[in-house]
């Protein structure tokens, strides 16, 4: 057992605030590296032009603090809370939301949350979507993911039959990403969640998009599936921005958990080439 540690929710608020701003203007290094690798391999002149525009966008955004994409996303937060942490000075969720609200206001970021039926915009980008996991220790890890609506809309959970197995999973993911085509802003990063139950598959899929791009799964079976899906998607010809080429996805990341004997849940979450996420440990 670690020693119980007090963490002020004010520190959490400040951390969320900084992560949200950082994510809006600065692409993660591994995403940029993956895009550069793709550029070297790409043979289509139009695709190269699109990737050059993407690099230019990354530069302009960082220099002038213009958000990388006008869709600065829903604030999605993966929170890993050590079980020996004691939060003080207020309620944790309120602090996270306050950090998000302040960042979206101060950073001139787009507020994208609205009433699902009337479509009235709340004007504050709240609430944040928070996934909390309790882990050993007395630290808190905050992963901030600015999730845009375009790629999110091209995501799904499908309950496959156990008999569909490995090949059924691969086929479903490949068909789905190819069908989405230019919509989610390729080159994309494909997150796949296998197993768990209905909602765990979706959470795993989104979490998987945050892994360093192209870093294979530790599980050799999954790593092989990732490679097969990666190649099949890139053989589709869709290309950057859907304008043709060899780079439709930058990486395929799979996470897996045990599931019920009667089910084979499959989550597919797509991140666009502006895959914005930042993390910190308190």
């Amino acid at each position: 057992m670690a020693e119980v540690r007090n963490i002020s929710v004010k520190d959490v608020e400040e951390a969320v605030y900084k992560l949200a701003l950082e994510a809006a203007y600065h692409i993660p290094e591994d995403v940029l590296e993956a895009e550069k690798r793709a550029y070297e391999k790409e043979k289509s002149p139009v695709a190269k032009q699109v990737l050059e525009t993407i690099f230019q966008n990354i530069e302009v955004s960082a220099k002038e603090e213009f958000p990388l994409c006008q869709d600065t996303g829903l604030a999605v937060i993966f929170l890993e809370v050590g079980q020996d942490v004691h939060f003080v000075d207020g309620y944790l969720v309120d602090a996270i939301n306050k950090g998000v609200e302040r960042a979206y206001k101060d950073g001139y970021l787009r507020k994208s949350t609205c009433h699902p039926l009337t479509r009235e915009n709340y004007g504050n980008n709240l609430p944040a979507v928070i996934h909390t996991f309790v882990v050993p220790g007395n630290k808190v890890k905050i992963i901030f993911d600015a999730k845009g609506g375009g790629s999110e809309s091209m995501s799904k959970v499908q309950m496959l039959k156990p008999a569909d197995g490995r090949d059924g999973i691969i086929q479903t993911v490949v068909d789905w990403v190819i069908q989405a085509g230019p919509n989610p802003c390729p080159p994309v990063i494909v997150g796949v969640g296998i197993g768990g139950d209905f909602e765990r598959a979706a959470v795993m899929a989104k979490h998987a998009t945050l892994r360093k791009v192209g870093q294979p799964s530790d599980d050799p079976v999954l790593a092989e599936m990732e490679q097969e899906i990666f190649e099949k998607i890139n053989n589709s010809g869709i290309g950057p921005a859907g304008l043709g080429g060899l780079t439709t996805c930058l990486g395929v990341h799979i996470e897996m958990e045990p599931c019920h004997i009667a089910t084979l849940p499959l989550g597919i979450n797509i991140a666009c080439h502006v895959n914005r996420h930042k993390e910190i440990e308190l």
Binding site: N57, G123, N183, G239, L246, V274
Partner: protein, 188 residues
Amino acid sequence: MAEYKLTTPLTDEDIIKLKAGDKVYLSGVVYTARDAAHMRMVKALDEGKELPFDIKGQIIYYVGPSPARPGKPIGSAGPTTSYRMNPFAPRLISLGQKGMIGKGKMSDEVKQACIQYKACYFVSIGGAAAVVGSSVKEAEIIAYPELGPEAVRKLVVEDMPLFVCYDAHGNDLYEMAKKEWANKYNLA
């Protein structure tokens, strides 16, 4: 693939010469509208009311920009995914709209409307919003301000780089590009 400089409003002649895959640098007035604004505009038409702007010869840019910093006309302003406007675009095209700017696929009904009424669907690079936004020189909210990023804006753009995606002759750049590069890959 040809390159053209065009200025709005566009005419039938402007549209007919364009082919899927052509690059266009667009200047002039462009109106912005996305999901909520389209719902309102079509409701206005159903109620026999006028649209918030004269749509003849005009182009609608599917965008919900980020807020402008002081001294700038607009924030980042890349295209949003267009298929969500499928239910509305054919009706507006039938009223004289000459084009849409967005990203991603649209429906067969939209393609048909482009052929029937001589209109084009232009795409720009999704996500490259800081770069695309910098071709916007002026911006003014002209309708539905309460929709925030979804309000209808009148933009003045200069040499906004676009690709012709669906032309008035029934061609589809996405399908053409995908086939070409899938074939090349398999031959390699």
